[in-house]
């Protein structure tokens, strides 16, 4: 004799629920939150190093850095005079709301306007685990191959903007950054696209795209 127990319970429900709580918490303190997703080595921290000076001029900013190991990224951010809290996941492939809540114990939300959360380098797992972000950015470099947006559709579908980094080496990797934008829009017609690269003298181009700079887009 067999019976059935109906369950109908979402496996990621707890994180989704907590993400909603975090979003309310951030809104209550008037903090705008930007999430950064991207593969290891895609240039997430380098992008932050370059854009933080412009953001810091207009807003009070803090950064949460997610990595499997080391405090290296938080150290890089602190060198710019920006508060950074490092989360080490000890192997876990994405941040979750519990980790972010713990990091928030070290951040005074009333003393900042903008919080940037850089996830663990991974283009798959962080996508299904929102952290109460206002905006989510996918960071994909021209070194990773032109068709990356097509190969990781969920990452492009569940982010508001894509930043194509390392456009200065696109010629060497035989990648057309414009093609990457086109592929991303095939998946997500609403996605905003920015292109980040350096000139021969090492000057950063400001990640322009869609008629505005990335800094202005993030400030909102």
């Amino acid at each position: 004799m067999c019976g059935t127990i109906e369950v109908e319970q979402d496996v990621r429900a707890e994180n989704l629920h907590q993400s909603g709580h975090l979003r309310e918490h951030f809104a209550h303190h008037g903090v705008r939150v930007i999430g950064l997703l991207g593969s290891p080595g895609s240039g997430k921290t380098t992008l932050l190093e370059n854009i933080l000076p412009a953001l810091s001029k207009k807003m009070r900013v803090a950064v949460i850095e997610g990595d499997v190991a080391t405090e290296n990224d938080a150290r890089r951010i602190r060198q710019l005079g920006v508060q950074a809290v490092q989360i080490n996941t000890d192997g876990a492939c994405h941040l979750d709301t519990a980790m972010v809540k713990k990091a928030l114990e070290e951040i005074d939300l009333d003393a900042i306007d903008l919080l940037i959360i850089e996830n663990v380098g991974n283009l798959v797992c962080p996508v299904g685990f929102p952290l109460g972000e206002t905006l989510r950015l996918a960071v994909i470099s021209a070194a990773e191959g032109e068709d990356k947006p097509l190969k990781y559709p969920s990452a492009v579908l569940h982010t508001d903007a894509m930043v194509v980094t390392k456009t200065d080496i696109a010629g060497f990797t035989r990648v057309d950054p414009g093609k990457m934008a086109e592929y991303a829009r095939q998946i997500n017609p609403d996605i905003q696209v920015f292109f980040s690269g350096f000139d021969k003298d090492g000057g950063w181009n400001g990640a322009a795209g869609d008629g505005q700079s990335l800094a202005d887009y993030l400030i909102g």
């Binding site: 004799m1 019976g3 127990i5 109906e6 369950v7 319970q9 979402d10 299904g128 609403d190």
Partner: protein
Amino acid sequence: MHEATLAARMLQIAQAAAADRQGRVRAVTAVIGDMAGVMTDSLVFAFDALKKNTPLHGAQLKIERQRVLVCCRGCGAEYAPPGFPFVCPQCGGREFRIVRGEEIYVKNLEVEEDVRDH
């Protein structure tokens, strides 16, 4: 994805739902969307490894795949896209909302009834 974490959470959900009948759970059925980013084989492997020292050690994880279904934001038609780009077969619109295909949930448990219950 991180199938072991998902399998561990599924075990917790199933244990809570089965309450005092955990030892008699024969199967746990989970629904996985085609776009959920989950490898079925890897999930079953993790579930079988994790269940060993729990009351659910006799339970088999059964997977039902859910195909992707979207709703056209232009005309409201619901369709199952064959692949990207998603184009509405009714109006040719490219804007859409995902209705199904990203879910990961425990649907039900099959439990062997104890004759003493009757």
